[in-house]
């Protein structure tokens, strides 16, 4: 007796997506695309670095995706095609329409990092949620000490934002170190792991804020390397992920211990997260 109750809430409710046009589409790697979106009508979103939206492919479903562009610019998402929804999102071309809800979640502590060194540590697609923070930092470069970007991926072909990385690396006020797990295709850069980049980077652990994003294992090892450099766990910030169905704090899926990632995260300090991760299957 599966009756479906009829909808009664207004169409502008927080569970209804807003239509956004795809303006630009760029392929980053074999399975990752960056899309620039603009609202079909109404105001653009006001996004802080670290936040995410729920991206909707008409009739297929929605997924939580971090914003990966400049917070002062149009809405940009970098998406990896791993399932039905993300495949549909990645296949959309300029002119197509996707649904957007949000932005949700809390932000990277860019303002709180003013006056300190900033260490950005990214792994794989984790550079995408960190890029907005880096844009913010570079916009007010004089407010920060050393700014370090450490990035690792599986192979050279999996590096995101390759041209931008090279441009950043060319600046005189930015340390950029990149490594890959395996070197292929004539790669002349480093081959090794991200924790090694952390060990070799130039920053003052007594006055630094680290922002780390990537697969959970990579974040654990990177946080460990940062702690070994002398950074306090409260100054290491990570971006956590769990199953998400609403983004509003109502569906109960994104619980991480006593917190809800959509509301209390996705950015957490390492001293808050580490005890939760220490309990297997929490």
């Amino acid at each position: 007796m599966e009756t479906v109750a009829e909808p009664i809430a207004p169409s502008r409710g927080p569970m209804a997506p807003r239509p956004f046009h795809v303006v630009r589409r760029r392929r980053e790697t074999a399975d990752t695309w960056t899309l620039e979106l603009e609202p079909a009508e109404g105001e653009p979103l006001d996004v802080a670095p670290g936040q995410f939206t729920m991206l909707y492919a008409f009739g297929i479903g929605e997924v939580p995706i971090s914003v990966s562009g400049d917070p002062a610019g149009p809405l940009v998402h970098t998406v990896r095609a791993v399932g039905a929804v993300t495949a549909a999102v990645c296949a959309s071309r300029p002119g197509d329409v996707l649904g957007v809800r949000g932005p949700f979640g809390n932000a990277w502590p860019v303002e709180a990092a003013e006056g300190s060194d900033v260490v950005i540590v990214a792994g794989g697609i984790g550079l995408a949620p960190l890029r907005p923070a880096l844009y913010e930092v570079l916009r007010r470069r004089e407010e920060f000490g050393e700014v370090v970007v450490l990035y690792g991926s599986r192979t050279p072909g999996d590096l995101l934002f390759r041209r931008e990385l090279e441009r950043w690396r060319g600046r005189f006020d930015l340390q950029v170190a990149v490594t890959v797990d395996r070197g292929l295709d004539g790669w002349r850069g480093e081959v090794g792991v991200v924790p090694k980049l952390v060990a070799d980077a130039r920053f003052d652990p007594d006055s630094a804020v680290a922002m780390v994003c990537g697969p959970e294992i990579m974040m654990r090892f990177a946080a460990d390397a940062l702690l070994r450099r002398g950074l306090p766990a409260a100054q290491v910030h990570v971006s956590m992920e769990r199953n998400m169905r609403c983004g509003l704090g109502h569906c109960g899926h994104c619980q991480l211990g006593p917190t809800l990632i959509c509301r209390d995260g996705p950015v957490y300090t390492w001293d808050a997260v580490e005890p939760r991760l220490a309990v297997r299957e929490l």
Partner: protein, 153 residues
Amino acid sequence: MQTIDELIGEGLVFRGMSPEALELLCGCGSNVRFTDGERLLREGEEANVFYVIRHGRVSLEAFDSARGAVSIETIGEGEVLGWSWLFPPYRWHLDARAIGLVRATRFDAACLREKCEQDPTFGYDLMSRFAQVLIERLESTQLRLLDVYGNGR
């Protein structure tokens, strides 16, 4: 022949060694340089040296006829290249190739092995330091074996 000061500066592995130990090391070392693409180690050949890289980057790689040279690690400034000289059969199991200009200190393995035999204290010190290098490399390898950037499938 470089001075002891230079040795201290370049080798992270040698940091904190006593002056006497550094002098022993010195006796087995010499300055070398490699140009871009030049091979420092060749897979299968006798392992009778090791290097401490002073400048530049070296790629540790294996050659696969289908994929060409696959680099599994790069060794940079201050780091040790080569440990197959420590124990028989004294054979390299990978190639090492210079990426760009490389300056290094080359240490004579047979010379050092003998000094370790003669002076067990020095031998223990050297082995401990190399054990640490091995542990770091192993941890890095383990982390990559986890294939954390994979799809999770």
